[in-house]
Each structure stands twice: as C-alpha cells, then as structure tokens.
C-alpha cells in the first residue's frame, strides 16, 4: 500500500518523534509513505487569524503539489495541519469563485483530486494488518485524548461521535491497551497560545492531565503535536497551575503518540520511536498485559 504524506513543520523539529514513530510503524506494516514534494507550512493558527486569503493559499499550494505528484490520498498526522488542509479543500470545492481567486494567487491548477486523511482515519484503514504484528501487547490503562480537530468542525470530522469519539480507543484496544472512560477527550489544551499565553495553556492542560490521573490512566495517548507539546513539554507549567496537594501525582504520567503505542506493541524498541525525546520520561512498568488484544471493532463499547 502507498499513501501520500504531509509531515508538517513541527514534525521536522519539536515533534519529530511523531514522524519517526509513524514511519517506523508504516514500514513494518509494509506501507509506503510518499512525502509531498516541496510541501510548505499550512499557515496554522497564525494565517487564519491574520489573513483569510493566506490561510487558504498556503494549504492550496501543498494540495496542488500533491495533485501534481499524482497522490490520491495524503496522510496528515498533525490535527491542526489536517484542519487547515482538509478545511481549505472543503472551502475551495464549495466556492468556485474563491477557488479561482486562490489558484490565481498560487499560480497553480487545482481540481480537488487528492483526499486528506487524518491519522486516525489512516490507522483505522490499515488496522486490519495490526493483529499479526502485535508481539508485545501494550498492557496499560490509557486515556485517549482527541483534542479539537479530530472531531471538529463537523464537516471535517474524522470521528463518528463528536462528544465521545471512540476511534483511538478502538486502536489502542487492538494493540492490548485498556482505554479508560474520562471527561476530557475533546476539551482544548490551549493549542496555539502555548508560547504567547503559557498560563492559560497550563490551566486548561492541567484539567486534562488531572482527570486522566484521577481516573487511573497510566499514560495519555495523543494524535497531535500541539496536544503533545502542551501536555508533555509544558508539564512544569501544568504542575505550577495545579493545586499544591496534587502536584506529585501529575508529574509522572507520560504522554505518548498513538504511533508510539502501536510501535511498542509491535515490539519496536523505544529509541526508533523517539521515546527518549519526551520531556516526561516514559517509564511504564513491563507488567504482564492486563487485557488481551482485540481486533478493531470487536471490543465492547
């Protein structure tokens, strides 16, 4: 199998372990990820905040390049990049005049041929291949954190249930983990205010980490570099925002990308999955799996 691939900027830098682990998992499943040639930044929050046209033109250039390269489907691991690329595609396909304006700006043709897949959509597509590859089931209780852009807005949502999505829960169950029920699956971590308003981000992220810990999760699983940055790299700020009594309990819960969880369950060693790059060390006991792996779709809801 072959899919187009848009890594996104943060996966070339501060979240490179997400790309490393995704590529590791893909290659073990025999899937080729073909990077869009010369892709550019999606514009992220900055572009849609400051210039609507730029927020469409930047993703449109990348979409046009993917089309030129003959890629039918492109996997976009970052939720925010996914939102911008899939959102631009949606907006341009529904507004002919706008599409003309934007293709003039980028000086490229674009017909909307390439579909954009977010990471859960893609992993669930290839999940049928997983059972044969699971050699070290991930026997831990985990909190699957979806954040904003995997379930919202409705027009782009990759999950069937907006308030209580289960797609990531099904994936972790398929590799032997036990997803917990909790309240903060789709609450925002503070996203793009991480640098400009760190205290706000710490306050929002503290609630997420606290709820996961209180309900007995041993790890938080994410599918977005911004969520990871805020829950992992900003942990010291989260601790400072927590009530004094409960800080120590919040300090140690690690945050793993879904691709790292799957990789570990496939028996990949921590280093190629980039686990050493996390701020909060990933020290999960090698306890025997508490739950048997279940094929996707077979698990009880």
């Amino acid at each position: 199998m072959r899919f187009g691939f848009f890594p996104g900027c943060s996966q070339e830098g501060s979240s490179r372990e997400y790309q490393e682990s995704l590529r590791e998992v893909a290659s073990r499943l025999g899937i080729e990820l073909a990077e869009i040639p010369d892709w550019n930044c999606c514009g992220a929050t900055a572009a849609h905040t400051l210039n609507h046209r730029l927020a469409l033109a930047l993703p449109a250039r990348t979409l046009a390049l993917a089309e030129q390269a003959g890629l039918d489907e492109v996997v976009v691991p970052c939720s925010a990049c996914y939102n911008r690329l899939a959102g631009t595609r949606h907006e341009l396909l529904h507004d002919e005049a706008l599409r003309q304006q934007i293709t003039d700006i980028i000086e490229m043709n674009w017909h909307g041929a390439t579909r954009i897949l977010n990471v859960l959509e893609w992993l669930n597509r290839v999940a049928g291949e997983l059972p044969g590859h699971v050699s070290a089931p991930f026997g831990h209780r985990v909190a699957c954190y979806y954040g904003c852009y995997l379930t919202r807005p409705k027009a782009l949502a990759a999950c069937r249930r907006i308030e209580d999505p289960i797609e990531m829960d099904e994936l972790v169950r398929a590799v032997g983990a036990e997803p917990i029920r909790w309240a903060y699956k789709v609450e925002c971590c503070g996203a793009g205010l991480s640098v400009s308003r760190t205290e706000s981000v710490a306050r929002l992220s503290e609630r997420i980490v606290s709820d996961a810990v209180e309900r007995g999760a041993e790890a938080i699983v994410v599918a977005c570099p911004m969520c990871h940055t805020n829950l992992d790299l900003r942990r010291d700020a989260i601790l400072a925002a927590a009530p004094p009594g409960g800080r120590s309990r919040l300090a140690s819960i690690p945050v793993l990308y879904i691709s790292q969880v799957i990789g570990l369950a496939m028996g990949v060693s921590p280093r190629p999955l980039g686990l050493h790059r996390h701020h909060v060390p990933v020290r999960l006991s090698a306890a025997p799996p508490s739950v048997a792996p279940v094929a996707p779709g077979e698990g009880e809801e």
Partner: protein, 199 residues
C-alpha cells in the same frame, strides 16, 4: 441564509459586514449561552462569546467598537466547541477570525493581545522567508517583538539536547513562490467584500 443581516431599525453596522464577508448572520443567535458554557477560555475573556454576538445584534453606538477592541476575539482558540454545539449553527470561530482581521485593519486591537499578535506575526515571518516554520527563528523573533527575553530559557536547552531544535532554517525550493503568495495575499484587504463599508 434566511436570517436578517441588518438591525431592526434598518441601520447597517458590523453585523452586516460580518454577514457579507462570512455568510454568517449574528441574528441567528438566540442567546442560549451554550457557546459560552463550553468555551475553554470564557472565564479569561472580557466579553463572553454570546456577549460578542449580543453587541453585534444590538449595534448601538459604541458596541461595534467594543467588540473590535475586545481581548476576547484574540483569546479564541478556534477549538470549534461553540460552533459544534450551537443549536443555531452560528459559526462563531469564522466570525471571530473576520473580527480579528477587521480589528487589525482599523488598528484597534486590544493592547493585552500584544503577545498573541506578536506570536502570530513572528510565525508568519518565518514562513514568508523559507516556506516552512523555523521554530528557533519564530521564538527569537517573538522575544524581540515582546521583550520577553527570558521566557522558556529553561525549556530550550532540553529541546536542543533531545534533538528537537534545528538551529538553521530549512528553505523549500519554491520559497520564492511562497513569498509571492504572501505579497498577493497582503496586497489588498483580506476580505475584499468589505472595502469601504467602514463608518
């Protein structure tokens, strides 16, 4: 969109401009407050999301200006919680993006939003130069814009040690094309439908 876009007395204001640019009518909102109940940052805002819509609905003297000068429009995370839950399907984040841009055009952005704006501008600066985000360049520019020279000085070495920071920017082959995209997008108002509607 069947909802009206003008005030009851027929006067045009920001509400009408919002509708022309975004296709969203603020008059669809019946003030149930669900947006504010779910907004993760409502408690830090000077105007709650439903209050922003209320001021636009009323459109009395000074209200449009209060909205454009509010901190709220800059705090919005575009998490889409409000629009997803809105029983009237008002796309508040879409309206908010336009309000931010209008606030910038009129030069009335809230002073407390200075760091947020500095971050967004620094971010776009690095894209304009190389086509992709360069995190070190972003943070350096942000610090110079805000004089927050010591922010995250303890975080940076950790990132560096873990191989997460590239000191030198990556420049894509099509960087000249990206620069032209910026020039074209910034040459005219971001929402051309709105030229000349300002009071």
């Amino acid at each position: 969109m069947s909802a009206p876009v003008k005030h009851a007395d027929g006067t045009a204001g920001l509400a009408e401009a919002v509708a022309a640019a975004t296709g969203e009518s603020v008059f669809n909102c019946y003030q149930c407050g669900k947006c504010t109940a779910g907004c993760p940052l409502a408690e830090e805002m000077d105007l709650a999301p439903n209050q922003v819509l209320r001021l636009l609905q009323l459109g009395q003297p000074g209200m449009d200006e209060e909205v454009l000068g509010s901190l709220s429009i800059w705090l919005c995370l575009t998490c889409e919680q409000c629009s997803t839950r809105c029983p009237q399907e008002v796309d508040i984040p879409k309206i908010t993006d336009w309000l931010r841009q209008e606030s910038q055009r009129r030069g009335v952005a809230n002073k407390k939003a200075k760091a947020i704006l500095a971050f967004h501008k620094s971010f776009l600066d690095t894209i304009r130069r190389g086509g992709r985000l360069h995190e070190v360049g972003l943070i350096t520019t942000f610090k110079l814009r805000t004089w927050r020279l010591f922010q995250d000085v303890l975080v940076a070495p950790k990132l560096l040690a873990r191989g997460k920071l590239s000191i030198l920017p990556h420049r894509i082959e099509g960087h000249a094309g990206v620069k032209r995209i910026f020039e074209r997008c910034e040459a005219e108002p971001a929402n051309p439908a709105h030229k000349g509607d300002q009071a």
